[in-house]
């Protein structure tokens, strides 16, 4: 079991972390730039999409989800789904209630 674990974890080297970090910095710059330009609902959606991409990068590379057992990725997906369901149901309610 231990050898198997070590084999999985050795996949990460310094390079991939630095590359992902650079990507995260670029995405941050992108978020700030975009927020200054667009108008309306698109901006919120864009900001959230970029934030989600950044989170995806942190989750898969920094938090090792990519090299972890598949079960872990399933856990995270399920947890995220529940949170998203909370938001969807809440807004389904609020949109119909009005002010």
């Amino acid at each position: 079991m231990d050898k198997h674990q070590t084999a999985i974890e050795q996949k990460h080297n310094y390079g991939i972390y630095i590359l992902v970090w650079l990507a995260l910095l670029i995405l941050t710059a992108l978020t700030v730039t975009v927020s200054g330009i667009n108008f309306g609902a698109i901006t919120v959606a864009t900001a959230l999409v970029i934030a989600s991409v950044k989170s995806y990068l942190v989750l898969t590379v920094f938090m090792h989800l990519r090299s972890e057992m598949r079960a872990f990725r399933l856990f995270v997906v399920v947890a995220l789904c529940f949170i998203i369901i909370c938001f969807v149901l809440l807004f389904a309610d609020y949109s119909f209630l009005g002010a």
């Binding site: 910095l25 700030v32 901006t43 942190v58 947890a79």
Partner: protein
């Protein structure tokens, strides 16, 4: 007859179990902040204009700087785990110290941001704030609560990593057993992810 000398001391080591436990804890943290994000999203939806006005008071430069600081601290944390995997104890300790330093700088920035607000009379319950529209009151209430709770997590994470640094230095964490460091790393990355969402939602409202 079992030869007594052949009894081996069994050390319980379950790295996968440990990581699973940490992930479960992270999910509970997700719900904690998720609840606050839910509140934020509803009140932003119902007070869009006032949220926009209130958000202008926040300093985008400091916010961006703090984002870069936390992203870099996540990098150094991840690198420190690779370092100890490769038996490079000193590099790992050094990278963890950088992570702690970045965490402290984040907190110092937060402190200055908050002090500026409070100095201008904007804090939960203040007269200046209560005289504004309800949307602005909500915005700042959420701002102080969510960045405050996040800041508390940064403090906890920084202390945790400091403990791990000591462990790495005196050999409790080694290239064979470093799951403690991974656990602290996972917590720290979650703190980073929460800020990744906090930043655009509070600082970049157009």
């Amino acid at each position: 007859m079992i030869n007594q000398e052949q009894v081996v001391e069994h050390v319980h080591k379950d790295d996968i179990g440990t990581r699973m436990g940490v992930w479960l804890f992270l999910f509970s943290e997700l719900l904690l902040f998720g609840g606050l994000f839910l509140i934020y999203s509803v009140y932003r939806f119902t007070h869009q204009a006032e949220f926009h006005v209130a958000a202008k008071e926040l300093n985008v430069i400091i916010g961006t700087l703090n984002t870069v600081i936390l992203l870099t601290s996540s990098l150094t944390m991840a690198l420190s785990i690779t370092a100890i995997q490769r038996k490079n104890r000193n590099l790992s300790v050094f990278l963890q110290c950088i992570t702690i330093l970045l965490g402290i700088i984040f907190l110092v920035n937060k402190y200055f941001e908050w002090m500026t607000k409070i100095h201008h009379g904007i804090y939960p319950g203040s007269e200046a704030l209560l005289s504004k529209g309800s949307g602005q009151i909500l915005f700042f209430g959420l701002y102080f609560t969510m960045t405050g709770l996040h800041g508390l997590h940064v403090i906890i994470g920084t202390v945790l990593i400091a403990v791990m640094t000591r462990f790495t230095f005196n050999g409790v964490i080694t290239s064979e057993k470093y799951v403690k460091l991974e656990a602290a790393g996972l917590y720290w990355h979650l703190v980073d992810i929460i800020w990744i969402f906090l930043f655009p939602l509070f600082y970049l409202i157009t």
